[in-house]
């Protein structure tokens, strides 16, 4: 299993490399793109995923000491948290569609600023700040529309690949829960739980890196 995870490290590593090179090249557009992401949802999702890693570790531990009821319980908890993560991701993807931030014909970094109607004074001020940021960004990078699309292509490729791994993990968990309900896991035989556990933690680690790189790179302005 560890050997498989090594290949996965290099697989995701390639995407991180692509991201780094492009970000270095077009850092203004990447900053603008990053700041449109919803930091609240991103942070909640990070917490949810870390919690699911904890329940997974607890499931492995329960299997090793032979507490059969607990194994099933912790596996179901892990599956539930994984599903919550994917659900929040769907909400985020939906926002990107609403804000015209899907790479392609309808893409427009200005859409959100031009079409939001702020109700409070605070909201009005924030919107003005955003417009100003975009103006400045356009001055330093005239082709910001296509470079921001590059950011969102990478965003969808990386989070999409991560989500795909989560879906595979959820499938594996359902299989484990079925086995566990039949009482198959004992202190002598628990390798499947342990191996799926390793996989689940790996997916967690990928997110630990994705979160600061995609969500947090340009928040300080």
């Amino acid at each position: 299993m560890w050997i498989f995870l090594v290949t996965e490290v290099l697989f995701f590593g390639g995407m991180f490399l692509t991201y780094t090179i492009n970000r270095h090249q077009y850092f203004t557009a990447f900053g603008i793109g990053s700041n449109t992401l919803d930091i609240k949802l991103g942070t909640i999702n990070t917490g949810v995923l870390i919690l699911s890693s904890l329940t997974m570790a607890m499931a492995v531990w329960s299997a090793q000491v032979g507490k059969k009821g607990l194994v099933t319980g912790f596996l179901i908890a892990t599956l539930a948290l994984g599903t919550v993560f994917l659900g929040i991701k769907v909400v985020e993807y939906k926002q990107k569609f609403d804000h015209h931030l899907i790479p392609g014909h309808g893409f427009d970094v200005w859409y959100q600023v031009d079409n939001t109607k702020p109700e409070t004074e605070m909201g009005k001020k924030l919107l003005e700040d955003e417009r100003e940021e975009l103006h400045k960004a356009t001055l330093s990078d005239p082709d910001i529309q296509s470079h921001a699309q590059l950011y969102f292509s990478l965003y969808f490729a990386m989070t999409g690949l991560h989500a795909l791994h989560m879906i595979v993990g959820a499938g594996l968990l359902i299989w484990l829960i079925k086995l566990s309900m039949r009482g198959r896991f004992t202190p002598q035989y628990n390798t499947p739980v342990e191996i799926v556990g390793l996989y689940w933690h790996f997916v967690d680690i990928v997110w630990i890196y994705l979160f600061p790189l995609l969500y947090l790179i340009d928040r300080h302005r």
Binding site: V6, G13, L17, G47, H201, P212, L216, I217
Partner: protein, 96 residues
């Protein structure tokens, strides 16, 4: 359990730190915290600390090969004269 709270604390710190400006150290701080969190997950959640030597060797190899890939490719890009965007033909060419 302790590890879990350490990870949550790490997440909180990294979000708070992202809103401060440390100049060119922003990325170093963000990735430093991420690496610390990943190390905790590997060592304790994945039991690498209590694993046989062979497993530990495999983990070190993964990091090592990743480092080779990142270091060599980035140094290649850094030392090229050409700007990346100039490799792409201008839009006018493929409209014709």
């Amino acid at each position: 359990m302790v590890i879990f709270f350490a990870l949550i604390a790490g997440t909180t710190v990294t979000v708070l730190a992202a809103f401060q400006n440390f100049g060119q150290f922003n990325i170093v701080i963000a990735l430093g915290i991420a690496t610390a969190k990943a190390t905790l997950v590997v060592l304790y959640f994945m039991h690498a600390r209590y694993s046989p030597r062979r497993t530990q060797l495999v983990i070190v190899c993964a990091v090592f090969w990743l480092a080779i890939m990142l270091a060599l490719t980035l140094s290649d890009y850094q030392t090229r004269q050409q700007h990346l965007s100039r490799i792409v033909p201008p839009a006018a060419l493929y409209r014709a």
